[in-house]
């Protein structure tokens, strides 16, 4: 019960700070690789998916470790 509460609380608060970071990093990085807006947006989307995927994997690993050891 407590774990579920903490999990929901975490999702509703601090994780959202990653959103502007992911958007800005993806767009700026992609913009340094292309000149036209369409390739920039396509590249930015791929980078954003990659970053969120990587963060999700790390999140799941840490969550399972925490769940297992505590």
């Amino acid at each position: 019960m407590m774990d579920s509460f903490l999990f929901a609380n975490f999702l509703s608060l601090r994780l959202w700070y990653a959103l502007p970071l992911v958007v800005a990093v993806s767009l700026v990085y992609a913009a340094t690789r292309h000149e036209s807006m369409l390739p920039i947006l396509q590249h930015a989307w791929r980078i954003a998916v990659w970053i969120v995927g990587f963060m999700s994997i790390v999140f799941v690993i840490l969550f399972l470790l925490e769940w297992h050891y505590l």
């Binding site: 970071l21 800005a24 767009l27 700026v28």
Partner: protein, 202 residues
Amino acid sequence: MTEYRLEKKLRSLLDKDATSTFDSVEIDLKDPKIATVIAWLLPGAGHFYQGRHGKAILFMTCILGLFIFGMTSGGGKVVYASLNTEGRKIAMICQAGVGAPVFPAWLQMFRMEIFHKKEPILQGFMAPPRSTDPSGRFDDELAAWHYDFNFRFEVGTLFTMIAGLLNILAVYDAGCGPVLVIPHPAKTKPSPDNDRLQEAYK
């Protein structure tokens, strides 16, 4: 005037399939040195100078937006320059990438730490923390900031640092144009042109 034609040359060298990621756009970088300086001073300004308005708006929105978001998260206290605060130099070096928006921090540092004035100007905007907490709750002002803003102080510091680092990418883009993505040899069709290109980049 410097014409940016490298992408066009590469496009002519490569197979059609291998160039799908390239844009066939010629870019007039005007004076790259001036563009570099302006791009550092204000994110996106260098691209405005070059007439690359779309990228200018993108860089300005993303980088300044991230910087302002970080500043707001940290209560406006996360950007300051200090020679005395331990571990602060790396943060300030990264934040300095944003350019002119951090100039008040340097001004405050010179005033308070070089010329030893006790009170900051600009109502303490971007001033380094004082050795004593004015509210009297903690030993120094930095501890009070950490207590007041909690994790948002760290998040704000991180956001402003990343904004500075991202502007370095934008500055490079203003000075040299987009970084070319060279297709991986294993992912391109074998051809004499592709082999020549890969050899040229070794």
